[in-house]
Subunit: 346 residues, 2 copies
DNA sequence: ATTAGCACTCCTTGAAAGAGAGTGCTAAGA
DNA sequence: TCTTAGCACTCTCTTTCAAGGAGTGCTAAT
């Protein structure tokens, strides 16, 4: 693609910004009048024709103004992704909210999702921290009814899993506690492979629990992410480009199907590092349903120990200037919190 | 409201059923032709006029067919609520799915939400089981980083809470384990009041943890329900009556705001017992945003120990014949599961 | 290189007309 | 007394047409 002159860049950026604000195709006259360009509409028209030729702009129809193409948005985002900073006042508000939620791990994610959705006016998605290689930390067995036992297992990344085990015969809480103590000693810090390689236990109860633990760790290890939290789905419905067609419904449907969503996040965040930011515009992500949408994604957490993904889905016309710094800031904040609690000396 | 003759009932029921199927106002001619009524359209017109007069039907405009009013739907539901049964094949499918998910408590709710949404083509909502009076069952302290401790507490109803505690100084896992053992012995089976009335502990660490436990139990006890799961939000967007206006957006917005949703569920389910079923039609629930919607709600669980709410939100025109028995069946199934695992001998 | 002018295209809006659906009413029939 | 055929009436929905407007691309002049 050919070089853009300084003036062409200015015009492209202005058109994109104006369109993001108004959702209306922007014409040469409007541009000449509203912004201090010191150019006539005719000149602007010429430049617009050039930008259209180069694939940065398009016309919905012959007698309409111009609208950015995916390529146009990409240029726009490229210009802003380095510089954009969140206003300090907002930073403070957000970090204060997280400070108040610091004690409750579940609340981290719901809060992050809520903040992202509100700030960006889009649909937010946040996955709980998840370890690439799951390691055992602690197990607890709690007798409930006769043969039913509630197993609560904590993994090294802080993930907690509850499972219900039905035993062949009733077992006292006392015996459960002994089993718990034995297994905690035996398994502390081990990964799945090491646990699976352990010799069979002589005690039948021990063996039953051990089998369940292995199955459970395997299940968690195989999933590509922690639990998914989202918020702001109705924001997408308020966007004018989605009010008529069912584009919003199809996009939200994709988001509702958790397995698809995990797939999407896993695929797109595979090649992105903690601290990095990824902006997927339109068809870039490869999902047909999201052709009219964009996503701003980031990874957070402690690499190697526990990481998660978070981001925002919005119309391609979303306010990147607002969304990008917010996603970055929240990701950094969550990384800090993960690091403080489960990072460090393991 | 005056009595309805046999024939008027039949006509009202047919109109309602037809409208639920087609989403089109139904006229006298259509009714006479499609159903074996052995009546002319003129006679039907007279009856329809009477039903309109009595408030069971209304006309969107002068030259349109009739549509049920809220009162009309209420009569329709009243006729069907006792008899409706879920086909055996579907019962088997559902109970099989629950059987496969029996070990994973989280999955109970997601599965229930998924099944309800699919079967009813509406928006489902399921709350996790929650005890009216929260009782302590078990606590576990896990050291993570120096001064950070992850506390996992299990309550009598099976609820699990994770909290992070920042200590004044680092404490060894060994000492944490001793504290855990002491507190578990001390608090077993106690409710909030009893715990709060306990004398202060001499050991500073014990006291810190105890304070946190009290605060956490109070927080959980004050909330009116367990965690909320929902599914099928996009189903509402597919309904023809919502495709244009933003009625769906406003209804979903209410559903997205978790605190409002809890409020709604708490208020409406307060006067309904486990096993009972509640159908709220249109403005009946008192929520302006749900004026065009209906809800089918049920409570499940073990009264006095742990109960939850589950239900479906749909357009007023929803398929009650399908939704009502599904909600009832899933509620019964969940009640059984709760009873099996945490019910009985406490 | 820039700009004023102008013809052209295409969308949008509003009015008018016709078609269609359904009703209420009246009068005749069982 | 209940039912039914017939009919005029009302209202919506769709189509058509014309006018208005916005924005463009091109050309010629600066």
């Amino acid at each position: 693609m050919a070089e853009l002159t300084e003036r062409q860049q200015t015009i492209l950026l202005l058109i994109t910004r104006d369109y993001i604000d108004t959702a209306q195709p922007v014409g040469s006259k409007r541009l000449a009048e509203h912004y201090r360009l010191d150019l006539s509409s005719a000149t602007i028209r010429n430049e617009m024709a050039a930008l259209t030729e180069m694939g940065y702009l398009r016309q919905p129809h012959t007698s309409a103004g111009r609208v950015p193409t995916e390529e146009g948005y990409r240029f726009f985002v490229g210009q802003m992704v380095q510089q954009a900073e969140l206003p300090e006042a907002i930073q403070h508000t957000i970090s204060h909210q997280f400070y108040q939620a610091r004690a409750d791990v579940d609340q981290w994610m719901t809060l992050a999702a809520s903040i992202l959705a509100h700030q960006s006016q889009g649909v937010s998605v946040v996955t709980a921290p998840h370890a690439e290689t799951v390691r055992f930390k602690h197990v607890e067995l709690i007798s409930t009814q006769g043969r039913q036992v509630l197993m609560v297992m904590v993994l090294a990344g802080g993930e907690v899993s509850q499972q219900i085990l039905t035993l062949a015969e009733p077992v006292s809480q006392e015996r459960l506690s002994q089993t718990t103590a034995r297994l905690n000693g035996l398994l502390a810090g081990l990964a799945l492979d090491a646990i699976a390689a352990l010799p069979a236990r002589s005690d039948a109860l021990d063996q039953d629990i051990l089998t369940l633990i292995v199955a459970d760790i395997r299940r968690i290890g195989e999933s590509t992410s922690g639990q998914i939290y989202t918020d702001g789905q109705t924001n997408l419905l308020a966007e004018p480009e989605f009010s008529e067609s069912d584009g919003a419904r199809r996009a939200l449907r994709l988001f509702e199907e958790r397995s698809t969503l995990k797939d999407l996040l896993a695929r797109t965040s595979a090649n992105s590092n903690v601290g990095g930011l990824q902006v997927l515009i339109g068809s870039e992500g490869g999902w047909e349903e999201l052709r009219q949408c964009s996503m701003v994604l980031a990874r957070y957490g402690v690499p190697g120990l526990a990481t998660g993904t978070l981001g925002v889905l919005g119309p391609m016309r979303m306010s990147y200037a607002r969304t990008i710094p917010t996603v970055r800031y929240v990701a950094d904040l969550l990384s800090d919190m993960v690091n403080d609690t489960i990072g460090g000396n393991d």
